[in-house]
């Protein structure tokens, strides 16, 4: 134990980069990243459920606008979307005088809007696919019981669709975490922003970015673990019984 202690002290002896100040930058960056990703995922999820149901509607005027929305947001890079929402809106005349500016003035909210719209588009398509893949036997059985469309959606289709969508959605969450690294281009001090600051300050790209990569790895590990647990519980009925 003591040896370990000595080894650790020696390791940090000529370290100038990881001092109280830079660790504070990293801690604040971690909080910002988690906040940004968590909020956009929650709002995106809430938006995606009704959108996914409506996306499967037989009526063209409901289906088409949603398809158009997901097509646009899945078809363009998130960085471009962020630029348009952050810098682009400024060129709308007189926007500074409206209540919208209260939201758009801070960099956090434009980033949140861009991330939310982006993840909602992907999640809509994930759920839509899962709903479409509901086996027709389940639907026929529900109909035979005389369930209404609403009841069938609530009791039969959605519960099984969510379960099927779980692995794909877990991927989307991880992608979102990694995509959030671009928030620093609009001056947000997220994890990547903190790393870039430390890099610029100490000209130590290797240390600054390796450290932040490890933090991202830890976050990803937590997400992976959560989804593995959820899958184990929710998809228990699909596992072969021993």
């Amino acid at each position: 134990m003591e040896q370990l202690n000595i080894w650790f002290t020696n390791l940090l002896a000529d370290n100038t980069i990881f001092n109280a100040q830079t660790l504070e930058y990293y801690a604040e960056g971690l909080a910002t990243t988690v906040q940004l990703v968590f909020l956009s995922l929650v709002i995106g999820l809430v938006m995606a459920v009704p959108l996914a149901i409506a996306r499967g509607s037989r009526r063209k005027w409901i289906k088409m606008p949603i398809f158009f929305y997901t097509y646009i947001f899945r078809g363009t890079p998130l960085l471009i979307q962020l630029y348009i929402i952050y810098y682009g809106v400024v060129f709308i005349d007189g926007i500074q005088d409206t209540w919208l500016w209260l939201i758009l003035e801070e960099p956090f909210y434009p980033a949140l809007i861009a991330f939310t719209l982006n993840t909602a588009a992907y999640t809509t398509e994930i759920f839509h696919g899962a709903i479409k893949a509901t086996s027709k036997g389940e639907i026929e059985a529900a109909r035979a019981y005389g369930m209404s469309r609403g009841l069938m959606m609530r009791r039969i289709i959605l519960p099984s669709a969510f379960r099927r969508a779980l692995p794909a959605y877990g991927n989307e969450v991880i992608f979102m975490l990694h995509a959030s690294a671009i928030a620093s281009v609009v001056t947000i001090m997220d994890l990547t922003g903190a790393a870039r600051l430390v890099y610029a300050r100490y000209y130590a790209p290797f240390d600054a970015f390796l450290f932040v990569a490890m933090l991202y790895l830890c976050l990803t590990f937590a997400i992976l673990y959560l989804f593995r647990y959820l899958e184990k519980r929710m998809l228990a009925h699909l596992r072969p019984q021993s």
């Binding site: 810098y87 400024v90 001056t187 600051l197 890099y199």
Partner: protein
């Protein structure tokens, strides 16, 4: 007796030393154009700029002729070594790597940074009290970033941008209360822009050296110590008699 010997020897050494160095009637300067506002050409094709005017004033003070020879930046130190010209006055930052090859004069200029705010801003003087809680823009990783982060990082929101253009855009959008920029860059992007309505507050900032560096020096061949010291003396004189300030204000004044 011993003393006399020392003085004689010293005197002999001095005579020998000055015989070795060349006496210059004309000093040829190597310069890389354009680099506004330090050195560039007028629409008529004439060389002008801060370096050129200061160089000419220095020569006039010493009482020798000045000639300017245009040379690309890549070959500017080799050109000095191969006697294409006798000195370099071309916004050359003094640093250790160059010091190994050339002899620098005293620094004659440090690129100034300045605070830019919207014309109707109530920030009249950059200070801890006036900038408290404000959004300040800087370009990420620049010396301005380091300066602002250390001086005002605790009390103000420092927004760091990848490019100066992004920052100017956000200033126009109204997201920033003040930006701290290289003065020439800020002048061309903020003060001289068509619909820009901005002003400079406070004075040009070139201190402390730990942030803003040693500044620009005139480079000579290492053996031309006499020439370098003549220029150093002339520079000190020009700074004293106000000629330097006159030229400085011509190129770096707050006025639009």
């Amino acid at each position: 007796m011993k003393k006399l010997l020392t003085v004689t020897l010293l005197g002999a050494a001095l005579v020998a030393g000055s015989a070795q160095a060349r006496d210059y009637d004309t000093v040829r300067f190597g310069v890389d154009v354009p680099y506004e506002p330090m050195e560039y050409r007028t629409p008529e094709g004439e060389l002008t700029g801060f370096d050129i005017e200061l160089g000419n004033a220095l020569c006039a003070e010493i009482g020798i002729e000045c000639e300017w020879i245009v040379q690309g930046w890549d070959g500017i130190i080799p050109g000095l070594m191969s006697r294409k010209y006798d000195a370099i006055m071309s916004s050359m930052t003094i640093n250790e790597e160059r010091r190994e090859q050339v002899l620098f004069s005293d620094p004659y200029f440090t690129p100034p940074s300045a605070w830019f705010v919207p014309a109707d801003s109530n920030i009249d003087m950059p200070a801890k009290e006036t900038l408290e809680g404000k959004n300040i823009g800087v370009q990420r990783g620049t010396l301005q970033d380091n300066y602002v982060s250390d001086m005002y990082g605790e009390i103000a929101d420092v927004n760091r941008y990848a490019t100066a253009d992004d920052m100017v855009l956000d200033m126009e959008a109204g997201r920033l209360d003040a930006v701290f920029l290289d003065f020439p860059v800020g002048k061309s992007t903020l003060l001289d822009s068509e619909d820009g309505n901005y002003k400079v507050v406070g004075s040009m900032i070139t201190e402390p050296k730990s942030y803003f560096g040693d500044g620009f020096g005139i480079a000579f061949r290492k053996r031309d110590e006499d020439l370098a010291s003549k220029f150093n003396e002339a520079l000190a004189t020009l700074k004293e008699n106000g000629t330097y300030d006159e030229i400085f204000n011509k190129y770096f004044s707050n006025k639009k």
